[in-house]
């Protein structure tokens, strides 16, 4: 029985539970809904939820735990002698899973009988041929230990899922029966449903948080693997980024960090003045009609996918800059050799960040009380004097927060730099040269045919974790500043 059928049965059970629960409640009150503690449908929801929620909880836990349990049992069955030179237990286990899937598929297709698939002494060569004929994917010939392991794997998985279905259905039925028996006109079904709703919301919130924790942990483990293979001193304090897939790489984050920060700095130099001035215009000077048109238009910039910005950088901004600063360009300086440069990426990233800075600053400037402006205007200050000397100082902490959020966005940006910044890791102050960033290197280390055991690949996780910590720190700092500012006027 497939999982979808199990879910459909559970849902049907819940629907039946809803109607029987409701009618039982009504019957207990003699058909008069006013004598019930709660509205009739609450009794229905109570039965449905009590049937559904624990059963689905058991289902989720079982689905997560069963593969882990089966894997660890089967792994223990494979003798060390069965692991060939140059391979490891993990590779053998994936082969075992493939064979198990193959057997399952062949039985389903009718190429094998159930007894043949479970026969531990089957002729291995013939079995391999049968599986291949049945269209199952096998990468190598089956060996005796692998076959035994695969058969155990298959039978354990099969028994497990039958047991799961039985237990889940039993839990659902028990829940429904329990709630049904409790249904009576005095029963406070409304309060129980209230707690059910709370549990649902709690579940959603914890899934979001647990996912974050999971991401961090997975990065952390891979990073620890990396540091076992590569010295942390070279990673944090080295000066060269020279990955070499034949070994002996120099993998230092510093040149990449320099490129990241340099490009982000140029982006902020573009985005902060333009975004801030746009915000001041929109919040202080623009009429309501202008504002209602201009603000959404500006925010369209935030909705453009970054790959489109990358194309814009590659096809428009880069060549335009070369025609100005390149050999034989408008300024005749010959500084810029290629359109891939720090300046190109920085400018375009700055344009991308304008709506971030302007939209957040606009909200913050609007939060400055009108009485501040009145006070200043009432003393004979002009509008711009008021903005410069009263409104902006009052809004400054919030604006700094907005800039920090934009900065963390710039540091984590990938697509624009992949397309416009180049791929050379070096320390240089020249904005017309190509440079590279942490995010670009993560992409290039992980794309292509790579195995996840060499330091050259694992370094991507160390880079990612470092990047994550930097942006997390910036975000926390920014939120702290913004929050501190908000308290000032409340």
């Amino acid at each position: 029985m497939a999982l979808s059928w199990l879910l459909i049965i559970l849902l049907a059970l819940a629907v039946i539970g809803f109607f029987t629960g409701r009618s039982r409640a009504l019957a207990s009150a003699g058909g008069d809904a006013r004598d019930l503690h709660s509205l009739p449908s609450y009794y229905g929801y109570n039965v449905a939820l009590t049937a559904l929620v624990p059963a689905i909880g058991v289902l989720i836990v079982w689905l997560l735990a069963q593969p882990v349990f089966v894997n660890s049992t089967v792994t223990g069955m494979i003798p060390d002698s069965a692991i060939p030179e140059g391979s490891d237990r993990g590779l053998i286990m994936s082969e075992v899973r493939r064979v198990a899937d193959g057997l399952e598929g062949a039985v389903a297709a009718g190429a094998l009988t159930q007894a043949q698939a479970q026969d531990a002494n089957a002729d291995i060569a013939q079995l391999t041929q049968t599986l291949k004929d049945a269209g199952q994917v096998l990468t190598q010939d089956i060996t005796q230990p692998i076959l035994v392991a695969a058969q155990t794997y298959r039978s354990m998985t099969g028994t497990g899922s039958v047991a799961m279905q039985v237990i889940v259905l039993a839990v659902a039925l028990l829940g429904a029966a329990f709630a049904y028996i409790r249904t009576h006109k005095e029963f406070r079904a409304r309060n129980v449903v209230e707690q059910g709703v709370l549990a649902l919301l709690l579940l959603a919130a914890s899934i979001a948080i647990l996912t974050t924790v999971g991401i961090v942990l997975s990065m952390l483990f891979e990073t620890m693997n990396f540091f076992q293979l590569h010295s942390w001193k070279d990673f944090f304090f080295g000066s060269t980024w020279a990955p070499n897939f034949r070994g002996g790489s120099e993998l230092s984050i510093l040149p990449l960090l320099w490129g990241t920060l340099y490009i982000s700095l140029i982006a902020l130099l573009v985005a902060v003045p333009i975004g801030l001035f746009a915000a001041i215009y929109l919040s202080e000077y623009a009429s309501g009609a202008t504002r209602s048109i201009a603000k959404p238009l500006l925010e369209i910039l935030a909705g453009i996918p970054t790959i489109v910005y990358g194309l814009f950088a590659l096809l428009t901004v880069g060549p335009a800059l070369v025609s100005m600063f390149g050999e034989g360009g408008a300024f005749g300086v010959g500084w810029m050799a290629s359109s891939n440069a720090v300046l190109t990426a920085g400018l375009v990233m700055g344009i991308m960040l304008i709506p971030f800075v302007s939209s957040l600053s606009d909200d913050i400037i609007n939060a400055v009380p009108q009485s501040m402006r009145d006070g200043s205007l009432g003393l004979g200050a002009t509008h711009s004097e008021t903005v410069r000397q009263v409104v902006l100082p009052a809004a400054l902490p919030g604006i700094v927060g907005a800039i920090l959020l934009a900065a963390s966005r710039a540091i984590g940006e990938t697509m624009i730099v992949v397309m416009a910044a180049g791929a050379i890791a070096k320390f240089s102050g020249n904005p017309f040269e190509a440079m590279t960033t942490i995010t670009t290197r993560i992409v290039s280390q992980l794309t292509g045919d790579t195995d996840f055991a060499s330091p050259e690949t694992l370094v991507a996780f160390a880079l990612g974790l470092t990047l994550f910590i930097i942006t997390l720190g910036l975000n926390i700092f920014a939120l702290y500043i913004v929050r501190k500012y908000r308290e000032q006027y409340e």
């Binding site: 009145d374 006070g375 205007l377 009432g378 003393l379 004979g380 200050a381």
Partner: protein, 265 residues
């Protein structure tokens, strides 16, 4: 403190500082002020009283063109300051506001130090040649705001850290620092406790020796205590304008009588 005698003693004929003729104010389609004529005398406290929404604050804000900052607001009629029409095209509203200072309902010190709050106006208008002169202006203004003794040791502390009454006196000192000729006060005591109110009222009485003061208030006792002239507004009309003692003891209009005896409002 309700001594009509003091009030009556203070009334004598003085120069007209502000003269308003047939002033109309519209907010969009709403006719907020209808045909208001008022003469505000120099070195006198004039009180505007009336129920909420009667237009007294709106009229007050016409006197220094603060209504210009509201897009939908339109003002018609003449308002003359020293015989000059303040709505004339040649008049710069920014300069006008330096001459006609304003204190608001809620104390609104800037998020700056006490010193910088008071020095704000003089700095903008270039009233001080050097730091010493600015120090002098700040001290003089804080003394006139009757708050010097309380803050002289902490001029660098933020103005927002003072108590409500101190903040309001700081705002008065800030308004006085630009050497205005008229001081407009929009319910300056409505956010203050009785003790702070008494201090501010005492201050208003002192300010009368140098400035023409116009105060909007909801408290009839306050109007009677601090003002020499009182104007009663109702539904956008100026119902009655005269000497404070006259208005509170022997009003001519039945609406004024109803309001001050508490039957409408």
């Amino acid at each position: 403190m309700n001594d009509m005698t003091r009030v009556e003693r203070a009334v004598d004929s003085k120069a007209i500082k502000i003269a308003a003729n047939k002033v109309q104010v519209y907010y969009g389609d709403t006719h907020a002020i209808k045909d208001v004529d008022v003469q505000i005398e120099d070195k006198t406290v004039t009180a505007f009283i009336g129920p909420s929404g009667c237009g007294k604050s709106t009229f007050l804000r016409c006197l220094n063109r603060m209504n210009d900052t509201i897009d939908i607001c339109r003002v018609e009629g003449d308002i003359l300051l020293d015989g000059e029409d303040i709505y004339d095209k040649r008049v710069d509203p920014v300069q006008l506001r330096a001459k006609v200072g304003m204190v608001f309902q809620k104390p609104n010190p800037f998020p700056k130090s006490i010193y910088d709050n008071v020095a704000y106006g003089p700095r903008i208008h270039g009233l001080a040649k050097n730091k010493a002169e600015l120090d002098e202006i700040v001290e003089k203004s804080l003394r006139r705001g009757a708050i010097w003794d309380e803050v002289k040791d902490r001029l660098d502390a933020p103005g927002t850290g003072l108590s409500g009454g101190q903040q309001q006196r700081l705002c008065i000192a800030r308004a006085v620092a630009t050497e205005p000729e008229v001081l407009l006060m929009d319910e300056p005591c409505s956010a203050l406790d009785p003790i702070a109110t008494a201090q501010v009222e005492e201050l208003i009485d002192e300010l009368r020796s140098r400035y023409s003061v116009v105060i909007v208030t909801h408290s009839m006792q306050q109007a009677a205590r601090v003002s020499q002239k009182t104007a009663f507004f109702h539904l956008g009309n100026l119902v009655e304008f005269g000497e404070t003692g006259q208005i509170f003891t022997n009003p001519e209009d039945p609406r004024t009588e109803s309001y001050i005896t508490g039957r409408i409002g």
